[in-house]
């Protein structure tokens, strides 16, 4: 891929790497090895689009999304982000201090609505906390903003006084979404944001995420293992295997005309809800099993539009 600066892209990730050191046992812990969780990935994403990152556990999809947001510091590579405040910046190189104002523009929605909300804080405090941290609003103004955001995500203003335990899983996920959106970010990383929800609640939250995307012109990085959800909400899909993007393209191409053997293996493993389409998994196996794709061409495939 050519790597020319292009302002049409909100996110331009180049050769991103995140390695974790492995130390020896004993008193003197020497670094003996490294785990290449994210191993040289590059992709670009336009503003307002949704990119799905799919892959098995251990493929590096969560680590990649966290390294992009600088929740963790990448080992190397560039993450060019089109910021409203600072213009085009490389998130990978920015010092921690300079990142703080950018945090308003990028937020995260987490998988588990039970562990990601502080049980001792009221919903009003949870959703309003980012405003406090960034000194954006206090008192009645903050309350009004929280109330407005709660209503946007389908909750009620009077829920502010309650604690997370009084809410169901789907409602808690809405609280997490309200907290992420109250800063009016541009980029949202949703890490398995609907995986823990029942299918009927999941449908509501997916619809909500799509409505909010339209209203606030959001760009989503959607990390998920449920391929039918990814197919429904993503414009583009990055398939990750062992720290690398092995196939990247439009959702239509990835699902209808996959090229890479790993993408084919992944798609063949989805059980169809039609009993007359029997499950015929191909090339399935443990992640990293050297024999799994023996004889197949594993060169990454990037589909240009």
């Amino acid at each position: 891929m050519t790597m020319k600066a292009d302002t049409a892209y909100m996110l331009d990730v180049r050769n991103l790497r995140k390695y974790f050191p492995v130390y020896s046992k004993g008193v003197i812990r020497r670094q003996v090895d490294e785990i290449r969780a994210v191993d040289d990935i590059s992709f670009r994403l336009k503003g307002g689009e949704t990119l799905g990152i799919v892959g098995e556990s251990g493929s590096g999809k969560t680590t990649a999304s966290r390294a992009i947001l600088r929740a963790i510091r990448p080992t190397g590579g560039e993450v060019w982000f089109e910021s409203d405040r600072l213009g085009r910046v490389d998130l990978a190189q920015l010092p921690d201090k300079a990142l703080k104002p950018l945090r308003q523009e990028m937020q995260m929605i987490f998988q588990d609505p039970f562990s990601s909300l502080n049980p001792r804080m009221t919903v009003g405090d949870i959703v309003g906390e980012p405003l406090q941290i960034h000194d954006l609003a206090t008192g009645a103004k903050r309350r009004d903003m929280v109330a407005e955001m709660l209503e946007k995500v389908g909750l009620l203003a009077r829920h502010m006084q309650r604690y997370p335990h009084a809410f169901s899983g789907g409602q808690r996920q809405r609280i997490g979404i309200a907290r992420a959106l109250i800063m009016r970010p541009k980029l949202i990383v949703a890490d398995e944001a609907v995986s823990a929800l029942d299918v009927s609640v999941q449908a509501q939250v997916i619809n909500l995420l799509q409505d909010l995307q339209e209203e606030f012109k959001l760009t989503y990085l959607f990390v998920a293992h449920d391929l039918s959800v990814v197919r429904h909400i993503c414009n583009r899909v990055a398939v990750m295997y062992l720290g690398k993007i092995v196939e990247f393209g439009s959702t239509e191409v990835i699902f209808n005309r996959p090229q890479h053997p790993y993408t084919k293996a992944l798609l063949s493993a989805i059980p169809s809800p039609d009993p007359d389409e029997p499950l015929r998994p191909q090339m399935v196996g443990e992640i990293g099993d050297a024999n799994r794709f023996a004889g197949h061409d594993m060169t990454p495939v990037f589909h240009e539009d």
Partner: protein, 330 residues
């Protein structure tokens, strides 16, 4: 399926009963300070020998409570309030699980012998401080009359059968030395090594990657065919139901709302809740559109009032009024 009265006990000469399990009018409640919560009411189903029945429903629908009742695993403050659960082993007479005392030897024979269970999270089913071999052999020694050496043979054979390479060496390893998919294989080996009549699988693949899930599903299906085991599959994944089950029960708020063959129920769901549940799954039909939620499918219709199950022409049971069933079959 007609309600059958239990045959006289100890009648080994006759051929085995067509059903391996019959659950009739099961009611389970949980008691709290706020009063009684009816987790399961009037649940009736049967599993034909060698077949797979799936129970689907969302969290709190009572699907797991129904399954746990079969092993009498409901603990205080929960209680089985009524109904009967009858097991029909190939040899020996019918076992009425609900009538057994807590200390009855036959209950121990049911648990892990006649019926075994695999759970969602394999790590909770395995002890972290015992080797895999120890844990499988424990189950064998408890239910079969063999020596420790023979038990080890059986365990290694079973590990090989579930697709674990180098089974003999793996026997002396601990669960943390196995990957998630391999752990679930160990749990399946442990569950099937005593050749149970019925395997209860409670969301066994929910925590696994889709590629590993495909392998585990194929494995359960192959072992089911080879060993003649009947399976009760608890899941919320319609794709898994479609691939695994012969029959399906759809549960909603502690009751069965639709029950029948997997093809008619999934291809032409009749009950509004079933239609909502199937519609809410992202699929080809909803591509590029808003997902229908259960609320939009119900369109204001109130399904909170329970109706009795009535038979339809295509042989399923559905909790609708007779007029509605007539309208739908036109």
């Amino acid at each position: 399926m007609a309600r059958t009265s239990p045959p006289p006990p100890d009648n080994p000469s006759s051929k085995p009963h067509e059903n391996v399990l019959e659950v009739e009018d099961l009611a389970v409640s949980f008691f709290s300070e706020e009063g009684e919560v009816r987790a399961v009411t009037g649940v009736t189903f049967a599993i034909k020998r060698g077949e797979c029945l799936a129970i689907v429903g969302e969290s709190g629908s009572g699907k797991s409570v129904s399954a746990y009742s079969i092993l009498r695993l409901i603990q205080a403050p929960g209680r089985i309030m009524g109904g009967s659960i009858r097991l029909y082993p190939r040899t020996g007479g019918v076992v009425d699980v609900t009538a057994l005392g807590e200390k009855d030897d036959r209950l121990y024979h049911v648990r892990g012998g006649l019926v075994s269970m695999i759970f969602q999270e394999p790590m909770t089913a395995l002890s972290p401080v015992h080797t895999v071999g120890n844990q499988i052999c424990e189950a064998i020694l408890l239910h079969q009359n063999v020596t420790a050496k023979e038990a080890e043979e059986l365990a290694a054979g079973m590990l090989a059968k579930v697709g674990i390479p180098n089974p003999r060496a793996r026997l002396s390893q601990y669960p943390h030395e196995f990957s998630g998919g391999m752990r679930q294989r160990v749990v399946i080996a442990m569950a099937l090594v005593c050749r149970p009549e019925l395997l209860i699988a409670d969301e066994p693949t929910t925590a696994l990657d889709v590629t590993i899930q495909a392998q585990i599903l194929t494995l359960i299906r192959d072992l089911q065919a080879e060993m003649g085991t009947s399976v009760l599959f608890i899941t919320h994944d319609i794709g898994v139901v479609a691939q695994m089950a012969d029959e399906v029960c759809v549960m909603y708020k502690g009751r069965i709302v639709e029950r029948g063959g997997v093809r008619p129920v999934l291809k032409k769901p009749l009950h509004p809740y079933t239609r909502g549940l199937l519609g809410a799954i992202p699929g080809m039909a909803s591509l590029g559109k808003r997902l229908p939620t259960i609320e939009t499918v119900l369109a204001g219709r109130d399904i909170s009032q329970p109706l009795p199950l009535r038979p339809t022409q295509d042989g399923r049971l559905v909790a609708l009024s007779e007029e509605e069933i007539l309208q739908m079959s036109v």
